[in-house]
Structure formats: structure tokens, C-alpha cells
Point group: C2
Chain length 352, copies 2
DNA sequence: TCCCGAAGTTCGATTTAAATG
DNA sequence: GCATTTAAATCGAACTTCGGG
């Protein structure tokens, strides 16, 4: 057809800008300017604007996201890259990310690479093609810095240009032994993290510095290390085994501090198997505060990572950095430290 | 500028179709046809095709998703609507959805409406604007059927046109009492679901029919109902309270079957508080198999919902229905039943 | 008529320069 | 020249129509 009567509606029956324009008898450009409150619409008289707004509302006009994005070169979308999601860690982070992005009218595309480094490369490429404007990663370390603003939660490594959300491990971990000592414990066993894990060293550093400050003796025979492993569930089993051995060694212990909640759950099971009750025979304290902690019998005392807050902060920083790039502002990769807090429940008891 | 030398690269330095075309000295349309293996490219000689493919590879050409989507009116994106995500239920479903969609080269946009019905309307509108081609919902009931293919997991209600992933509750639940009876239990307490919840009735129906088949007496004094509530954590507390009352009543019970795992955890805590051990004094069985079950002390015997499989199935059906709509095929809203399975752990023991 | 490919239109919105009274 | 509005170019790819040898 050359020029005949063209329907303002497209083939799918959606209301387009043109439909609104024809309805009010104006040009699409005019309608666009008004609806977006563009500077070029300054001169358009109030009465015309109202007509346009009324028409848009009446026709239930919704701008086409794809068309708009294509033109403005903006998608208001970030890529969320997770290693895993079955654990409560990942999902709590998502929750925080979602809440923040939703509020800012951003969306996110999720990929889970399930411990596969090759997938990670492919997936970030796919996200790039989809036009994401930045990345938020959880427990994922890039080999090289991505070409977009990137904020990492957990599992981070120093990469120039990427911002890390860091838990203040050293300060946070102190709350554990501090709590135990306050309750009168002195014979404390420790299950440390795997030597290869970045989190392990600063945490132990925190314990040591606290121990020194209160002259608490750290008995090397009561200190064991989690073996290296990629699998989160494995720390449960490792916690079980290590505690079992500790029990067999018959060393006197009144409290046990585990590297994380999974390890603590494993330890509690081992204690129970040996006929030892928590906290009556041994206090146990974990780290993370996963969902199961408060449901556990006994409810687990633990050091809480503010996971939702960390997710929200990650989203916040991502948007901030996206804007910086758009405005060609230079912005340093500031790392944000988040403070953990002690969640006292019933797996620890006073000896006093 | 009027017509001078136009750079094939756009302002962001991305490689466009035109860039590839200029590189090989052909028209963009030709390149497009070849790269997409379009029917119109049939006649293009092999040698030209190779030149084009080589150039595309060399320049690392990636088609612009927005432009392509706009033109083809396809986004390969579905909207994932969740009520909540902190619990392991939501995240396991996501995991299944993600795995399936990823394989089919779809993406998904996530919104969490956090028990707010108003939000739900707004959010599905937003997803629509973003061009999603279908919905997958978890524990979310629309007031009216959405204008796109929709598949619901959990919390569904009969709405014409929407497909539900249904757990075969009636058959599944039988496995609970069956297991207990096989272990020699006869005095079994039941904590049923809230009367207002759709799942409750069929499950109880399953228990009753099984009881009848083995002449198991269901003592009404051992049957209690969870109160109505939107909050998942509340079933933990309700389980605790109801069990506490049951204990106080001093009725003889050797096993307890809870409506879900949360309720079971609450029950176990109440038993522990009363000095009763699981499974020595009382066996306990749950429903769902959330992540905490296997970590619990004792590990909880439960009836597993195949959550990842349900998520994958939902994604599967969603894509199937999206394709049906595109091909203008009529497709009935087939509901898919998934079979739960019994996960025997250590919270149940044999009396024989 | 076949072979090969170019040119132009479309998707829907934004934005510039230009035109009308 | 001023206030209003419009036509046309653009974003990047895909599809349809045409045309030269």
C-alpha cells in the first residue's frame, strides 16, 4: 500500500505513540515531547498538554520499552550473576537487590553459573548482548574486569575497576568469642575456614586479636581447619567430621565456634550423636545467619551477615556507577564495608 | 553533517550490522540475510557467505538485542513473579526456571510482590511494558487471567487460560502415614493446614483415604489445624504452639505428621522443650523438603516437593504456550501433576 | 529467467531542525 | 520574530521489493 489509511494500531493491537497522536490530531513528536516533559515542550500551551495527557490516559498508552531503549541507548537493566541459589545466601541477596532496583525502576536479568567458569564467560557475554548496564555478582570472581560497572558481593578478589561489598569480618568475628567469654567460656574450640578461602584469614585474625586483648588462651589442639571445597553442603559434613574427631580426642571443651552456620549445624549433629546436648554440654556459635538458624533446635546463636542490606547496597552502588559512566564522571572503585551483628539465640549458654 | 563519511561504528563503539557490511563492501541487508540464514539468502554464493561470516567473527559482531526484538516483536523473555524469596521454596523454583530458560536461550525478569496485591498489579504491568512474552508465578494468584501465557506454581486457583503446576497432594501425602504405619505407628497426631489454604483439603483427603484402607483410626483429639496466615514463618510458631498443647493434653502419641516442614520444625522444638526426643519419644514427618531438612538435628523425614523440577516444568510449559500463541495454535490449559516423593531421614523410627 | 545483491520500509519512540500562521 | 507544531533523521536489525547483468 502506498499511502492509504494506515491504522494507528499496530498488528498486535498495542497503543503506540502514533495512535495517541492521531487521536488528538497532533504529530507523534509533539506527543512524545509532552509526555516526557522534554525541554522542547516548554513552549507547548497548557491546554494542549492536558489534551495529550488525557488522551494517553484514555487510550492507556504505554511506551514501548524496546523502541525507547533503542533510541535512548538505555535499558535500566543490570545483570545479576550468581554461583548458586539453593542456599539461603543467594536468595537473600536477590531479595535485597530486587527491592532496591524495583524502587529505582530498574530490572535485572539473572544467571546462575553453577560453579562453571566457562559458563560464566558465556553468560556475561549474553547479558552484555541483552544490553545490561552493569553487573552485580554473588560469590563469583571474574577472571578479568568486565567492561561495565560491576559490584561484587562475597567471593571477591581485587580487580581494578570493580567495587566490592565487603563484610567487616575482623570486627564482626570478635563478637563471637567476646560473647562466649562474657558467658564464662574459656575452653573454646574453633573450626576455621578453608585456608584457600579469602574470608578465612581475616576472621582468624579477628579472633586472635580479641583473644590477645582478654588474655584468652587459644589451644592449638582445639583449632581445626575446614578442607577446601566448592560445595557449600560439604561444610556441613566437614563440620560433622571435625567435631566428631574433636569429641574422640576427649579434650575438654565448653564451646565451639564454627566458620559458618553449615559447619555449626554439622557440629551440632556430631555432638548430638555423641550424646552431648547443645547448649547444656557445649555452646555452639555460627556465622552468616542463614534462614535455618532460627528454626533450628536449639536456635543457633550466630554472627549475622546483613544479606538483604548487602544486596541492596550492591544494587545501589551499581546504579551509582552506571550513572557515573553515563555522565562521564570518573568514579573510584570504593569498597563498602558492612557490619555484621550478633544474633544471640539458644545454642550458647552462660557458665556463670 | 549532510552526507560525508559516516563512521560504521556507533557512538558507543559497538559493532553494528552496517560496520560488518562496510567491511566486506556489501549492503547491510545482505549481511543480515546471510547471518540469519534467511530464505532470501538462499541464492547468495557460498564464497560471499564465508566472507561475511569471517568478517562478523573478526569484528566480533553481536546483534543488538533491542533492535532485533523491536523488529521481530520477540523478546525471548518471561516474567517471574514471586510472593517471597527468603524461603527456600522460592529460590529452588527459580533455580529450576533459570536452568530451563537458559538452555532455551530465554531470560527472565524477576519481581517479588511481598504479599502486596496492589504491587502485583503494578508489577505485572511493568513486566508487560518490558515486553515479556509470558509469566511464571510462584505462590501468587492473579485476580484475573493475564493477557499472556501464564504458568503458576503453588498457590494457584482456577483461572481460565492459566496453566497450573500441581503437586499430586493426595497421592503424595499418603506416603507419610504409610511410612509411619509401616514402622509400627498407630497413635499418630496430625497438624493439618489452614482451612483457607487450597492445599489443605486434598492432603487431608489423602490421609483419610489411606487411613481407611489400612483401618487406621484417626483420633479427632489428635488432629489440629494451623491457623490462617500469610506469613510462612508463622507456621513454625503455630506448629510450636499446637504441639505444646498436644503435649499438655498428655494424650499418648508416637508420631506426628506436620502440614509442612516449618510446622514440623516448630513441633520438634516444642517436643525438645518438653524433654521429648525425636525420634526416640516421637517420630516427626514434614512436607516440602526445604533445604534445612537435611541439616536438621535430627534430619527430618519429609515428603519432598520436586521444586527444581517444578520450576523447570513451569518454564517448559510457558515457552510451549508462548510458541503456541505465536503460531496462533489453540492450546488447552493443561495442568501438570508432579509427584512428590518420600525422603526418609532420621526423624522417624521403627517401633517394631 | 536465473543470479546476486542493493535499496527502501518497518518496528516505536526520541530528538533535531524546520515550517507555519 | 514569536509561539506552536511538524517533518525528518535516528537508534540497529530484519524483511520485502526491485533492478542490473
Amino acid at each position: 500500500m502506498s499511502k492509504g489509511k494506515i491504522s494507528p494500531l499496530n498488528s498486535h493491537g498495542t497503543i503506540t505513540l502514533r495512535a495517541v497522536a492521531e487521536h488528538v490530531g497532533l504529530a507523534p513528536g509533539t506527543v512524545s515531547a509532552v509526555l516526557n516533559n522534554a525541554p522542547s515542550a516548554r513552549s507547548i500551551p497548557e491546554h494542549t498538554r492536558q489534551r495529550i495527557h488525557a488522551a494517553a490516559k484514555e487510550l492507556k498508552y504505554r511506551p514501548n520499552f524496546l523502541a525507547r531503549s533503542l533510541r535512548k541507548q538505555r535499558t535500566y537493566t543490570v545483570g545479576l550473576i550468581l554461583e548458586e541459589i539453593g542456599d539461603s545466601y543467594g536468595s537473600m541477596i536477590i531479595s535485597g537487590v530486587e527491592a532496591y532496583l524495583r524502587e529505582k525502576n530498574y530490572f535485572f536479568l539473572t544467571v546462575i553459573h553453577r560453579h562453571d567458569a566457562t559458563m560464566l564467560r558465556d553468560y556475561s557475554q549474553l547479558l552484555l548482548e541483552r544490553g545490561v548496564e552493569g553487573f552485580v555478582t554473588v560469590d563469583t570472581s571474574f577472571q578479568e574486569a568486565p567492561p561495565l560497572p560491576t559490584v561484587c558481593v562475597a567471593g571477591h578478589r581485587a580487580l581494578k575497576g570493580v567495587t566490592n561489598i565487603i563484610l567487616d569480618q575482623e570486627q564482626g568475628i570478635r563478637m563471637g568469642p567476646e560473647h562466649l567469654v562474657r558467658l564464662g567460656h574459656r575452653k573454646i574450640a574453633f573450626i576455621r575456614g578453608p585456608k584457600t578461602l579469602g574470608d578465612s584469614a581475616p576472621r582468624w585474625q579477628g579472633v586472635r586479636s580479641f583473644a590477645k586483648s582478654v588474655a584468652l588462651e587459644l589451644d592449638p589442639r582445639l583449632i581445626v581447619d575446614l578442607p577446601e571445597s566448592g560445595d557449600p553442603i560439604s561444610s556441613f559434613e566437614a563440620g560433622y567430621k571435625l567435631t566428631e574427631e574433636l569429641i574422640k580426642s576427649k579434650r575438654s571443651v565448653t564451646a565451639l565456634m564454627a566458620f559458618d552456620d553449615m559447619t555449626a549445624f554439622g557440629a551440632i549433629r556430631a555432638l548430638a550423636k555423641a550424646g552431648l546436648r547443645v547448649p547444656e554440654h557445649c555452646s555452639v556459635i555460627g556465622f552468616d545467619d542463614v534462614a535455618a538458624c532460627s528454626l533450628y533446635t536449639p536456635p543457633l546463636t550466630t554472627i549475622r551477615q546483613p544479606m538483604e542490606a548487602m544486596g541492596a547496597m550492591a544494587a545501589n552502588l551499581a546504579i551509582e556507577r552506571i550513572n557515573a559512566v553515563l555522565e562521564k564522571r570518573e568514579i573510584a572503585a570504593v569498597h563498602r564495608k558492612m557490619a555484621p551483628e550478633l544474633a544471640v539465640r539458644e545454642s550458647t549458654r552462660s557458665l556463670l
